[in-house]
């Protein structure tokens, strides 16, 4: 439910959740707010005691009640907003109050039951929808300056999970609901004397991440979705050429890899240790996916530590050859270096590099020209600039082009298509790496697997894919998103995972019947990537997660999704087992994901639910009703005449037949 924040770095105003204009007569109305949120701007009324009114602008995610822009999410931990960073004459009212309240925990329970100051009988429990485990911290009457509709009087509530603003004006039923996890920056603007001129940055204090306090219960446990042994068994592993090794059981070989790895049968554990010394961060080549028929494989790793001097490592060379030899038909191993050629060369200066032709005779190397995390971050920031606060009008297309976002999407997809094509044609096995093998590599392997293996196009399959290629193989979610990190300017943040989801969305547009999940599924994943409500995307790697006992102490996002799968299902899904998807990665066929990036804009009237899907669901229901009636009628008529030749079919025969119609 919480709207996601976006991956944009940099301050960004708060977004209210547009509340559907339905009458609020439902008493303890839970906002049915599924409209995209908008940026916001909250103004506190004059409070003489504190010396003058001031405006507090909730920037960034606060804004982002779901807007995709989230900058440098300070979001660490859902928690109270506090501590002015910039030196200023006053510490804000809005920001400081919560802190004190929060600190004096004793007030909490009492204040929940207390009647609000304005005399309106609103318990918090009535005023704010809460998750189990969510507790209230403070509330205040404020004026919310809506960037689209002007000032609106309202009351803001802050809990340890969200900032919730409800309009007090009866005629405008506006609700703003922002998980604190998505707030990227809070800014206090102006004092009594210098209105709007000075703005003070406010930092966000570190409090426990809400995910650890979340006591939601679901009837499905999402943590059990991914079991590496089962997944490898599904792929037919281990087999004659590949074995499962526990060498990394205690994360000694590589602390950013999962405990369980699949490596060539002929490589001993000692070989692996020696190879690890030659690969950046010890991320050795290990199997990601094996083709069920031609047995070619996708292998992932990090860059070799070649350095300026052009070092070689016999063990690494031999190891790659062993990988190649797992399939006898292959004369050369294909290495895709995701980086642009120049970057790969430049990496030599810092001890990295790429596999040279001289050292690796039986391999051919291609560069895929995908840019690094910094370029992607800047690109997405530019996308933000053209859609917020106002959507670029007169030069929309050229502005869109100048963000290069779609071009990056295109390059990532093109790379993945090449990987998939190599493997599915059986031409060769593929080794993918970038620099550290946790960003671009994860994008390429997971997208290629999605193209090759229809299993990953189901809801559970996709969850497994994310869990495996991203979470377990150490995509640094914490650093890339900025969970649990105070340093906003951190250059480690980058929307790499978002970019992957965007690619998946592009594919789902081109193959509307190939995926079991719908757009909402993808948006939900992104929302909770930033919300901190679930433990799924916390921390950088499996070892850290294990240390923090994430699976015991938090709830998995997949619990939410799998316990309510119908909401996320694509009604058009038709299972095709062996179909390889090759999306068209040309500019003509790629488009900006408006429903995600611009969904908070009030000018977008999202048709919810999607009319095409809805119509189809209606038709499906109608069909079932018809079939049922038909059965009954047949039953009725045949019963009177016990002649076998005219007997109707039971449902078991009927349904499958009808389904095979298409």
């Amino acid at each position: 439910m919480p709207p996601g924040a976006g991956p944009f770095k940099g301050g960004f105003p708060a977004a209210p959740r547009g509340k559907s204009p339905a009458p609020r007569a439902r008493g303890r109305g839970f906002p049915s707010a599924f409209r995209p949120p908008r940026p916001c701007h909250v103004m506190l009324p004059r409070q003489p005691a504190r010396g003058g009114g001031r405006r507090a602008v909730a920037r960034g995610g606060a804004a982002a009640g779901g807007g995709p822009w989230r900058g440098r999410s300070g979001a660490r931990e859902a928690s109270s907003l506090a501590t002015a960073v910039a030196p200023g004459p006053r510490v804000s009212s809005m920001a400081s109050a919560p802190t004190s309240k929060y600190n004096s925990h004793s007030l909490e329970n009492e204040s929940i039951k207390r009647t609000s100051r304005d005399g309106v009988n609103w318990d918090l429990s009535e005023a704010v929808p809460r998750l189990p485990g969510e507790t209230r911290i403070t509330d205040k009457e404020v004026i919310y300056i809506c960037p689209f509709n002007g000032p609106i009087k309202g009351r803001v509530y802050i809990t340890n999970y969200r900032l919730y603003l409800r309009s007090l004006e009866t005629d405008s039923a506006l609700i703003l609901d922002v998980p604190l996890g998505v707030i990227s920056r809070i800014e206090k603007m102006g004092g009594a004397t210098s209105r709007g001129e000075n703005s003070y940055g406010l930092d966000i204090t570190c409090k426990p991440i809400f995910a650890f306090l979340n006591e939601e219960k679901f009837n499905v446990d999402g943590w059990t979705v991914y079991n590496p042994v089962e997944e490898y068994r599904r792929q037919g592993l281990p087999n004659h050429h590949w074995r499962i090794t526990f060498i990394n059981k205690c994360y000694e070989l590589c602390d950013t890899y999962p405990a369980l790895l699949v490596v060539p049968y002929r490589a001993s554990d000692d070989d692996l240790r020696r190879v690890a010394t030659f690969r950046s961060r010890n991320r050795i080549p290990v199997l990601s996916w094996i083709h069920p028929e031609n047995k070619t494989v996708i292998v992932r790793c990090s860059q070799p530590l070649v350095g300026m001097s052009g070092k070689r490592n016999k063990d690494d060379e031999k190891y790659l050859d062993v990988i190649r030899e797992t399939n006898r038909q292959i004369s050369k191993l294909t290495i895709y270096d995701a980086r642009p050629n120049v970057n790969a060369v430049a990496n030599k200066a810092t001890g990295g590099g790429y596999e040279s032709d001289d050292a690796y005779h039986n391999a051919e190397l291609f560069f895929l020209d995908i840019h690094n995390i910094h370029v992607m971050r800047e690109s997405l920031k530019k996308v933000k600039d053209i859609v917020y606060p106002n959507v670029e009008e007169s030069h929309w297309l050229s502005s869109l082009e100048s963000t290069h976002w779609l071009e990056h999407i295109k390059l990532v997809l093109t790379g993945a298509i090449q990987v998939a094509d190599r493997v599915s044609s059986g031409k060769s096995s593929v080794l993918v790496h970038c620099s550290d093998g946790w960003d671009r590599t994860a994008q390429l392997t997971s997208l290629a697997m999605l193209m090759l293996d229809s299993f990953y196009r189901s809801i559970e399959g996709f969850e497994i894919l994310v869990q495996k290629e991203w979470i377990s193989f150490g995509h640094k979610f914490a650093s890339r998103i900025g969970h649990g990190d105070k340093n906003h300017a951190d250059a480690d943040r980058s929307p790499i995972f978002l970019q992957f989801i965007d690619c998946v969305w592009q594919m789902s547009k081109q193959f509307p019947t190939a995926f079991e999940f719908n757009e909402r599924f993808l948006i939900t994943i992104l929302d909770h990537l930033y919300s901190c409500r679930f433990g799924t995307f916390l921390y950088n790697c499996e070892s850290a997660r294990e240390k923090q006992k994430v699976t015991e102490r938090t709830v998995s996002l997949w619990s939410l999704i799998n316990s309510n799968k119908d909401k996320f299902k694509n009604p058009f899904y038709t299972k095709e087992i062996n179909r390889v998807l090759y999306p068209v990665a040309s500019m003509r066929h790629l488009e900006l994901w408006v429903n995600y990036y611009i969904r908070w804009n009030p000018r977008i009237k999202q048709q919810q639910p999607n009319p095409v899907e809805q119509r189809y669901v209606e038709l499906l229901a109608l069909r079932d009703e018809y079939i049922q009636r038909l059965e009954e009628l047949q039953l009725a008529s045949s019963a009177k005449l016990p002649d076998p030749s005219t007997s109707p079919a039971g449902p078991s025969q009927m349904m499958p037949h009808v389904r095979t119609h298409f």
Partner: protein, 621 residues
């Protein structure tokens, strides 16, 4: 046939410009009197109508042969490689001749014969009846009447014979006004909004120059505003950019002076002229692949062509018009220079926003027939049917179709027709296969005796209606009574299926629609089966009471049903219901879903006997 020297060339290669691997097909090229036909080695046929050819180019000779590039008006581009230069040259010359006819009588429509007799042909032409349409709108009424002033095309040659004008406008006023309007196109009714009692009227620019006035024209405008009992003010929309309108004053034309006309509000809306539109489309096509498909700067190229900006301008004008009527209840008079290009666009699009009838298949035909064909949009000149002035060619109607397409994208449930319908109409404005779009005005069409010599397109489209149905159409929804499109920049997209309609690599959207259509058909089939069965049962019941139960009757219940044909192999005969339980089932109303309740009840009392699938059977045991 005198232009055709070579009728058949073998070993011709057809390049696929959309495939990445530069694949080509080898086959034989045939030249007929009406078509260019390519049959490849898989016997797949590619037909290209001569009239569709916009441009033939012979490129420099290569090692594999002589390249021949044909650009079509339906945005198809075919690239042949003819092995011998001589053949190529012959075909090139023939196509040059064949694609540009000098006389109407040489056009395909005059030889096209769909094997219909004369009465069928006549019926086809009578399918769309504009008098009927005005009646539907609610005219004539107390304020509007049919004028016979133009019965013999005496006042205006490019207008239809039957025109609707305010009741209080006398003939001298009309005649006077027509003399003050360019080409005699005086203000007449285009659409009447029955609920609001407001009208959309259309005309051409006034011959006002810098200061000229015409009392009759002023009276006529006043009559129009008086015909609206609610709002005395009327809008006059000049669809041109202000600069163009001012420039026209120097030529003795111009626009209405607000001081001279009482109760008008004058408004420019800034749609560019036909020449700007033509070159914009040219640029669009260049960006999108006449010169190859290198697309690194696809989006900025698209933008610099200005095409989508022009589309937006037309849309904005139509929205302005619709708002004036819906919100202010005001009548609107629309004109441009001659009142047959931009005026047609804005009037027809405005009516489409206001009236859901025009969003049906039949209604859309009526709309085109009314605002485009009858009011004299110069189809033959704009589409270049004959070898004429290339400066008169302009994609004005294409723009209108594209605006409609954008609306269908924004309101997927509001239209009865789908994209294919728009594409098909676009195909035929250029094909010259039917008579509808030949000629430039009604008078010319009558002189050509089109109704006797050619066929109308509309009945053929209606016969194929199924292909053009939008499965998402919800006709009843009040949400779509009046459309209020959102013209935010990113809603304007490149119409891939129009400008790249021969790109066969992907058509995702349509495939979903096909699935829905199939499902729809299945459901209809099921519905019929149910009806069948129900009526049979009813029949039998009545017969039962008469004591006549015939086995034959029952036999006839199932065989037609497709879902049952293959499912007769019912294995569990023993589980079939027996008579005594029958009453329960018949008594339950299938709609209230009690069926499943019964199934549950029975499964509780008799566990484990049969699997769930046979719940139907179980509940009767």
């Amino acid at each position: 046939m005198e232009h055709i020297r070579t009728t058949k060339v073998e070993q011709v290669k057809l390049l696929d410009r959309f495939s990445t691997s530069n694949k080509s097909l080898t086959g034989t090229l045939y030249l007929t009197a009406t078509h260019l036909l390519f049959i490849d080695s898989h016997q797949k046929e590619t037909w290209i109508l001569h009239h569709h050819i916009a441009l033939v180019e012979k490129l420099a000779l290569t090692t594999s042969g002589c390249p021949l590039v044909i650009q079509c008006k339906n945005f198809r581009i075919v690239h042949f490689i003819v092995p011998r230069e001589r053949d190529c040259h012959d075909i090139y010359n023939s196509l040059l001749q064949l694609s540009k006819q000098a006389k109407y009588e040489d056009l395909y429509a005059f030889s096209y014969n769909p094997k219909q007799n004369d009465s069928e042909r006549l019926q086809g032409w009578q399918l769309i009846d504009l008098a009927e349409e005005y009646k539907r709108m609610g005219v004539p009424n107390s304020n509007w009447q049919l004028s016979d002033a133009n019965r013999e095309y005496k006042i205006c040659e490019t207008y239809p014979r039957e025109l609707y004008v305010p009741r209080i406008a006398s003939k001298p006023i009309i005649v006077g006004s027509s003399k003050f309007r360019s080409k005699g196109r005086f203000p007449v009714l285009s659409y009447y909004h029955q609920n609001k009692e407001a009208a959309i009227c259309r005309c051409s620019q006034p011959l006002s120059g810098f200061s000229a006035r015409c009392l009759e024209d002023e009276h006529l405008l006043q009559a129009i505003s008086k015909a609206n009992p609610v709002n005395r003010y009327m809008y006059v929309m000049d669809t041109r950019p202000k600069l163009n309108a001012m420039a026209n004053r120097a030529a003795g034309k111009g626009y209405e002076n607000e001081d001279n006309y009482s109760n008008i509000r004058f408004q420019f809306v800034g749609i560019e002229n036909i020449h700007v539109m033509r070159s914009s489309l040219q640029k669009l096509l260049e960006v999108n692949g006449t010169k190859g498909l290198s697309v690194s700067d696809f989006y900025s190229g698209l933008e610099s062509s200005g095409w989508l900006r022009h589309i937006k301008a037309v849309m904005d004008a139509a929205i302005f018009l619709a708002k004036a009527i819906m919100v202010e209840n005001a009548s609107v008079l629309v004109h441009c220079s001659d009142g047959w290009d931009r005026t047609s666009q804005v009037c027809s699009l405005g009516s489409l926003l206001l009236d859901s009838y025009y969003r049906t298949i039949k209604g859309f035909m009526v709309l085109i027939e009314k605002d485009w064909i009858s009011f004299g949009h110069k189809f033959s000149e704009r589409c270049g049917h004959l070898d004429g002035d290339p400066k008169e060619v302009s994609p004005v109607f294409t723009q209108f179709l594209e605006c409609v397409w954008h609306l269908t994208e924004q309101f997927p449930q509001a239209f009865e027709f789908n994209e294919a319908f728009l594409l098909q109409i676009h195909e035929h404005i250029h094909s010259c296969q039917f008579g509808n779009f030949l000629g430039n005005c009604q008078k010319e069409r009558e002189e050509l005796k089109l109704k006797e010599k050619t066929y109308s397109l509309w009945p053929f489209l209606l016969d194929d209606q199924k292909k053009y149905l939008n499965p998402l159409y919800s006709s009843k929804s009040p949400k779509f009574a009046v459309l209020e499109p959102n013209t935010v920049s990113f809603n304007f997209k490149f119409w891939r299926n129009m400008y790249h309609q021969f790109d066969r690599t992907l058509h995702p959207r349509q495939s979903m629609f096909n699935i829905i259509m199939n499902m729809n058909e299945q459901n209809e089939q099921l519905e019929n089966d149910i009806k069948d069965l129900e009526s049979k049962i009813k029949q039998r019941k009545s017969k039962q009471t008469d004591g006549i139960l015939t086995k034959e009757l029952l036999h006839s219940v199932h065989p037609e049903s497709p879902t049952l044909k293959t499912s007769l192999c019912f294995k569990e005969q023993t589980l079939l219901p027996v008579n005594h339980a029958l009453r329960t089932i018949e008594g339950s109303n299938p709609a209230d879903n009690r069926y499943s309740e019964y199934a549950e009840e029975y499964s509780k009392s008799e566990p484990g006997v049969v699997s769930l699938e046979y719940g139907v059977a179980r509940m009767t045991c």
